[in-house]
């Protein structure tokens, strides 16, 4: 099942030219680009592994694309996302995040129902 989270995830996957253009946009807004990867795409898994440090003093998207290529080489079957961090005081948060790499075969998200007090039910999801 296609995992959808962050920007553009309902669109077809971005190709490298499009990713470059997005990174250019990020740099133009003076946000820091960083890469994160994860093998666990559960929606509740907020904290992915960092790939290197956030790139605060980048001027051109090529630098981030080099890192992305490197990360894809090492983790071809991981989910990889590009994040844009705004360090402006008052924001200091991720402003943009989108998936740039998916495993060839994406896991299914399975829903588990559990009976609870009375006739109520609890739901849980786990990627399989």
């Amino acid at each position: 099942m296609r995992i959808t989270q962050g920007c553009f995830s309902f669109l077809p996957d971005l190709d490298d030219v499009q990713i470059t253009a997005q990174v250019e946009y990020i740099l133009q807004r003076e946000w820091a680009v960083s890469l994160e990867y994860s093998y666990d795409p559960h929606p509740r898994n907020t904290y992915w592994e960092m790939w290197g440090h956030p790139m605060f003093d980048l001027r051109d998207a090529k630098g981030a694309m080099m890192e992305l290529d490197e990360c894809r080489k090492v983790h071809p079957d991981a989910y990889i996302r590009v994040q844009a961090f705004d360090d402006t005081r008052g924001f200091e948060t991720v402003m943009m995040s989108f998936i740039v790499n998916r495993p060839a075969e994406e896991p299914k998200v399975h829903m588990q129902r559990t009976d609870f007090e009375g006739r109520s039910q609890k739901y849980a999801w786990d990627p399989r």
Binding site: L58, R59, D60, A61, K62, G63, M66
Partner: protein, 311 residues
């Protein structure tokens, strides 16, 4: 650049219009105006600019598709304007569309080479990422290679650099700078660099005349001036300073002027008894320059023993 040509490729190209439109003219004029002396360097840069413009025109017309090798080496003594010219070169390459962002990242060995195993590659890559889309200026590049230590990590940085210089020619231009003789040694020990660097530009030392002109210009930008006697003293100073060790052309002059300003301020402070006018505040006198240690046989930091003997 012209819209009238149908199809993918242009039929004719107006180099003069291109020259105006790209803003190359401004860079070259700035070069001419701001840099004193350095005639051979200016000549080389004009030639390079012409070559790049023609090359760009050829590419626009579909006559060639290869990105030319733009990596350069600047050789010359310290203080001959290598960094300044590199900055202008970055502007030039940006206007001609050979680099995307046109910023200059200046690094030395310390920024590229790590201190322990596995430290160098990430450090070098970090710098390269920063320099992408612009110009990477490696000052004192010959330090990267230390022939006396075969386990030196500099070699690792060199390998990464060579690889990027070859594979990312569209993304980054590398300029290596250093003393002429040491750079020659460096290139002969690393033939990979020589073949990847297309433009070798040699920076000559400034003449005394040029340095004097430069010192007046430096002072003028700070709203100072030399009185005639001080100008004469400055000319003598330059001739004397050149003979002494660690002479760094324009940089030595700038430092000398900074010290002269210090002395001038001190003189005004101790000697003045009444109100000072603007002229007094902005004139460097002969005594401010004559007080330099250069006139009394050199900087004593260089000759501590000699100084004691003299006293």
């Amino acid at each position: 650049m012209t819209d009238d040509a149908p199809g993918d490729t242009l039929k004719t190209i107006d180099l003069a219009a291109e020259y105006e439109a790209s803003g190359v003219r401004e860079v070259l004029e700035e070069l001419e105006r701001d840099l004193i002396g350095l005639a051979p360097v200016k000549q080389r840069i004009r030639e390079t600019a012409a070559l790049l413009m023609v090359d760009k025109a050829r590419r626009d017309m579909g006559l060639s598709s290869e990105t030319p090798t733009l990596h350069m080496s600047f050789t010359g003594n310290p203080g001959t304007g290598k960094t300044t010219v590199a900055n202008m070169m970055a502007g030039l390459l940006y206007r001609l569309g050979y680099v995307r962002k046109g910023h200059l990242v200046t690094v030395t060995r310390d920024d590229l080479v790590g201190q322990y195993i596995g430290h160098t590659a990430p450090k070098t890559k970090e710098v390269l990422k920063k320099a992408m889309g612009g110009v990477l200026f490696i000052d004192e590049a010959y330090y990267l290679y230390k022939p006396d230590n075969e386990r030196d990590y500099g070699q690792e940085a060199i390998e990464i650099l060579l690889q990027v210089m070859e594979n990312n020619r569209d993304d980054l231009v590398v300029i290596m700078a250093g003393y002429a003789d040491k750079m020659d040694q460096f290139f002969s020990a690393n033939p990979g660099f020589r073949s990847r660097i297309a433009h070798h530009i040699d920076f000559p030392d400034y003449t005394d005349q040029e340095l004097l002109q430069m010192s007046k210009q430096m002072l003028a930008t700070q709203n100072y001036e030399l009185d005639p006697a001080a100008e004469k003293a400055m000319a003598e100073y330059i001739a004397l300073r050149r003979e002494q060790p660690h002479f760094a052309n324009a940089r030595s002059i700038r430092n000398a002027l900074d010290r002269a300003r210090l002395r001038q301020a001190n003189r005004l402070f101790t000697e003045s008894s009444g109100p000072l006018d603007g002229k007094a505040l902005s004139t460097i006198g002969e005594s401010d320059i004559r007080a330099s240690r250069v006139f009394s046989g050199g900087l004593d930091v260089d000759h501590p023993v000699q100084k004691e003997a003299a006293e």
